[in-house]
Symmetry: C2
């Protein structure tokens, strides 16, 4: 693998000392950027994901504008269920829509473990094209949803405040739930390994809905599958595990072999360092809604955040995805504050 | 005040030793009960709230069926903004709908601090009627939403996954936000004091959306107002503060003068006792979705939960409201497990 010129992000993942922490933003490729909105008007969601020229262009748009220290491939966690023979649509103003959700043992029969190159080759092409565009200037991050989070959509059939149907499924048919989770896990491992082969420098697991579970249920229905993924990938690449609302599991996560853990804004730097034992690299945790604050205030808050986490073993990020209606200059203030950081 | 025959709940609030912990369920009056659904078919939401005969009947329905150790008045947190001259509708399949949300300083002008007896007298009548029906068998709980949670609806205009508009309002117009929060607080204090006069034995503050805020923003936009309410009420009655997702503030809450703190299922008994210092009564924290489990499993889990919290200084409850489609026999198993509890 060729040498990455700006290796701040990789240094942070390895726990090395840096002059300033690296910065990237969850969902940085997307919704809040005018140049993204232009593409969005012309092509629907899955066309954007499935066309390597578009996906790679969207991936590098924020880098051109703001110069983050890492790029994250434009894609979606729901390409996995799609490849597993579960229909997924993206409905305007609704979001993900799965017309035939998985609710029974019978439904599970049609869920396949796909051949990655056949069904998700377009993602690999997008990685190849993005790597070319990035020209080894910065690292590229690949990602996948956690098996639990993917299950949530597969069973609920759409987004939800509490994913009650997904939880009902797990609590009334745990054996079927575990079979589905294992198929998603097996697929995700093959998918991420293929991404690594195509040159991504790190992978992040998004457990967006892990925080809906009790600590006991989290271990059973979410964490054990994330741990499988980490075990399978950690020798080949850096794994970042991000569980929204999963503060209660940070202790376990810190011993998983992940290179870094994402935290959200409800978990202070002090709590996060305490709960993880103080040695692992942490990533986060600016409240995405706080990007509505005036740019000068954003800069002050980012500086305060770096002070609290410490500049080492730390990756500056939001605590969840950026909101679509954030002013561009506010996103810029966030990145600039980190790049201007001085101890 | 006359003596309550079953005073388990009050004993727990006072921190006294009991043979078994008391039990009630958040939103126990409502959606999962067939006898409630019968009333629901005939009368719309606010008719049910505003008709003391209906509200008191709905309040005692679950007591007749299951014999919980406390009743909670059937009402809604949104009767407060309604009384403050903010229109609130309840739309089927949508939930709360506020056609004219508060988004500017100008919008705030029409928000009044109402005379409680004039605008919310129907709640007091419902309390009088419920007290009569309960005949001092068990205590009656009154409640209100936290000012932050009420603001969320007033600004967003409806339920939301992240209350982005409410947070944008607070972070771009903090002065206006604080004026609105103070008006809600002042109204809520007068409202709860009137409830106490009419004989409720405790009040609970529901901060359903406090967990959307960072610890710093939580102090500024939510907790300081809840503290005002506790300060105003604590000499007259027991206050229970429940903040969903607010584990990070339990330490502060434990020093507030509240008689008990509610916790949700993401915070284990061990964490909750640790974070609150071990001396305050805790209430919770069964995952409402776990009531989908078979009754025998529910009973095992409830016993385990009591073991972990300890029987004293503990009130058995769910960690949030009961879901509408929970089988009645499963709700019964939850209550029965507590009533059958033996050390």
């Amino acid at each position: 693998m060729s040498k990455i010129k700006n290796d701040l992000f990789l240094k942070a993942l390895r726990g090395e000392t840096v002059d300033r922490p690296p910065v990237w933003m969850m969902r940085q490729a997307g919704r809040y950027l005018p140049e993204f909105m232009e593409i969005k008007e012309k092509y629907d969601f899955f066309t954007r994901c499935q066309t390597p020229e578009l996906a790679s262009e969207i991936t590098v748009q924020p880098i051109r504008r703001f110069g983050m220290d890492a790029a994250i491939l434009f894609s979606d966690i729901l390409v996995i269920p799609q490849a597993m023979n579960i229909e997924v649509e993206m409905k305007p103003n609704v979001g993900p829509w799965l017309p035939n959700p998985i609710r029974t043992k019978k439904d599970l029969e049609r869920v396949i473990i796909p051949n990655i190159q056949d069904s998700l080759g377009y993602v690999m092409d997008a990685i190849d094209m993005t790597k070319e565009k990035l020209n080894d200037e910065i690292p590229l991050i690949g990602f996948a949803g956690s098996p639990w989070t993917i299950l949530c959509y597969c069973v609920q059939g759409q987004g939800s405040k509490n994913f009650d149907k997904a939880k009902e499924f797990c609590f009334t048919q745990p054996l079927v739930a575990h079979q589905l989770l294992q198929r998603i896990t097996t697929t995700t491992i093959a998918y991420l390994k293929e991404k690594v082969k195509h040159g991504v420098n790190a992978v992040q697991i998004f457990d967006s809905w892990g925080g809906m579970l009790s600590p006991t249920d989290y271990q059973e229905f979410s964490w054990q599958y994330i741990q499988q993924i980490i075990n399978a990938l950690k020798k080949e690449t850096h794994v970042i595990a991000f569980g929204k609302g999963c503060w209660f599991a940070l202790n376990t996560m810190a011993q998983s072999g992940a290179s870094a853990l994402g935290v959200d804004w409800t978990c202070s730097a002090r709590n996060a360092r305490y709960l993880t034992g103080g040695n692992i690299t942490l990533q986060g945790n600016f409240d995405p809604s706080r990007l509505f604050s005036p740019p000068s205030e954003i800069k002050t808050m980012v500086n305060q955040m770096i002070k609290e986490f410490g500049k080492d073993r730390y990756i500056v990020n939001l605590g969840h995805g950026i909101l679509p209606n954030i002013p561009v200059e506010n996103a810029k203030a966030f990145v600039d504050a980190v790049k201007e950081y001085q101890e």
